[in-house]
Symmetry: C2
Subunit: 401 residues, 2 copies
């Protein structure tokens, strides 16, 4: 009993601290960008293996084992799901996923800000869907920085009806959905694309997501995880690509010996621009519809992958962000960014899912597009040039580790 009171006091103190931090976070966002109205000033804290819950009334506290140490004061904005809901289901995969993606968002944004000039920070845009009960997201964008030309890190947590179009596409992917039922889905995911200024720093993309689907009667339930991290260099530095793949492989190897090779191939196959006959970049890992293992194990795997983003990418940023750049190299970077746009608009499954979702928040989906792109008719790099070298790798993917 005494222990519970102590925990309650700790929670109150922490919540007050968080409320103060949230005010600071709120000050970062520009008024024009904010759609969500006022931030919730209470939050969920999971600390030191013990979860502390403060209700809206600030009077109820409960203690419980939690798998990781999370301090929400460092989140870019308060979580999307109402606190009372998260408090009521601390072990629910929805709660765990939402807290994980918010932690990753914050850690990645802060790491990138560390590579920028002083005062260049992410703009935090916390938004709700048209129908606020369907959830929303937190989109963090840094534009026109010294190191990053456009960096977007978005989390989404939403529950919405599954449109007929999406239902058909789910069936095409092998999900067994009876024709006579209406379905709704829950999705929680983090998605990020970083377009650096220097052509010698590659673009990175990652996306980790958890889906649930069920019919209107709560039957025909499905759940799965998906995600991946992939690299798009403009110039080939083999050491960079090996480091990047090596870190991803380590994350995979901690879970299943065949994960890396399976998901590396999946990535090469997925990021393929058929009409160009080339891949978007040098790959990484990609997987979808993962549902054949214990969800807790899958969550552990996805968490490890998300935690591998910073060590796989930040060394490349630090190494190249001040490299000398010629006009020709900049032009090549912009041409390749045009190709990036082509993949994202024509093939990307997440973008298409967004286009097919009624009232989707297009700005958050297309945050992945570069600030600048270029298309020249019949541009072909001459054999032997560094520009040619990278296109050869895009046409014929290699094993890097």
């Amino acid at each position: 009993m005494e222990e519970a009171k102590q925990i309650s006091r700790m929670a109150s103190r922490l919540v007050r601290g968080v409320a103060r931090t949230m005010t600071t976070v709120a000050a970062v966002k520009t008024p024009r960008l904010t759609r969500a109205g006022r931030y919730i000033s209470t939050s969920l804290l999971v600390s030191g293996g013990v979860a502390l819950y403060a209700s809206h009334q600030g009077s109820v506290a409960a203690a419980q084992k939690a798998p990781t140490t999370i301090d929400t004061s460092k989140f870019m904005a308060p979580p999307i799901t109402e606190l009372s809901v998260l408090e009521g289901k601390p072990n629910d995969m929805r709660t765990k996923m939402e807290l994980m993606i918010m932690r990753i968002q914050s850690e990645f944004c802060r790491a990138l800000e560390g590579e920028e000039g002083a005062g260049c920070k992410f703009t935090v845009d916390r938004w709700r869907r048209h129908n606020p009960s369907e959830g929303g997201g937190v989109t963090c964008v840094l534009q026109d920085g010294k190191t990053f030309e456009k960096a977007g890190v978005n989390i989404t947590v939403m529950t919405a009806p599954l449109s007929k179009e999406l239902q058909a596409s789910m069936r095409a992917r092998g999900k067994k959905l009876p024709e006579d039922k209406k379905f709704s889905f829950f999705a929680a995911g983090i998605s990020s694309v970083i377009h650096p200024r220097n052509p010698h720093v590659p673009t990175i993309h990652f996306n980790y997501r958890y889906f649930e689907m069920q019919d209107e009667d709560g039957n025909n339930k499905h759940w799965w995880f998906g995600g991946g991290t992939d690299l798009t260099p403009y110039y080939l530095d083999e050491g960079d690509v090996k480091l990047f793949h090596g870190v991803l492989k380590s994350a995979c190897d901690r879970h299943q010996p065949d994960y890396y090779s399976r998901f590396k191939k999946w990535c090469d196959d997925y990021f393929f621009v058929k009409f160009r006959g080339e891949r978007r970049g040098v790959g990484g890992i990609f997987f979808d519809d993962l549902e054949d293992t214990d969800p807790e194990k899958m969550f552990g795997f996805v968490t490890d992958c998300a935690d591998a983003v910073i060590p796989s990418y930040l060394p490349l940023v630090k190494k190249h962000k001040n490299d000398a750049v010629s006009e020709e190299e900049r032009r090549w970077q912009l041409l390749r960014r045009g190709r990036y746009v082509e993949f994202n608009l024509v093939y990307d499954r997440g973008t298409k899912f967004g286009f097919a979702t009624p009232n989707a928040r297009i700005e958050s989906i297309l945050m992945s597009l570069p600030l600048h792109a270029r298309w020249e008719y019949m541009h072909q790099p001459a054999p032997g040039t560094p520009e040619y070298k990278i296109t050869e790798v895009l046409k014929n993917p290699k094993d890097w580790v």
Copy 2:
């Protein structure tokens, strides 16, 4: 008999002249861009209502009524179809369409060159499909000019098997194609997108095409015309838009009193970016699957529409090409060009048809993309600004004439 000899002599003289001109045309193209090998040095001449045909042997001449005056010496390159085939079928719609689009291509390219600085000319790229018997095209591109940032005018004449994917999409459009038959198609069309440098000069797109389709036994024949011309201004000059629509309306009114209003609405509906809730531009005319009238009448209509391109657009180029431009206006132009890319890659039927055609010539299809485009997160023009004014028109199409 004497008359036939005279005609034969005239034809020989004209062909020699054409052969000389063709050598000059061939000199324009850069070696890197040429895929078609050597140009054919004979050509088909239709002059003064009398068609003069010179065979490969230069010995056969025939006289026949022809609907228009065409001098191939002014074409950007020799026609795609072999001369003997064209010679054999002067009244075939395939022949007439090929000659019409080649004439329009040349006239439009020369008119645009007239607005450029001295020496700034179109590069002429005559190409064949992977399987040369399937035809090819002539792609004319002018990049990085003083007036035009990227101008592409492409003609294609091809015969190819209809892929299963395209067969399904044809059925979805209402074409009755038996499931157990293999189909091939013939297509002849001109397609052009002009992206000027000055943000006060609108972008124009036009495309006129003729399709034929039949099964492997030569049965189940279908034919139709499609096309349209539409304008995408970055800033709204109502006089420009009225002139543009007025010229298109005149062309339509010469054929059917309801054509303009039907095709104007079709255009507004077609160039709609659903996920943005806005149209690509201020419209124009658009139609497809036109097959309900006599083909000769349809051809006359399509020809009139294609002939309306220069008078609908050149006055706007002349009027604005030297307008003063601020950095802010240039930035807005690039943002809107990003939207243009979105429409073309996500929705455009011609682009999708190209993506779905095996061994399609992607560079000619994506010639429509601008040299530069820009995407900013959450860019919203402030109410009352000229940038805001144009977006209002894109959201709520108006009647202009």
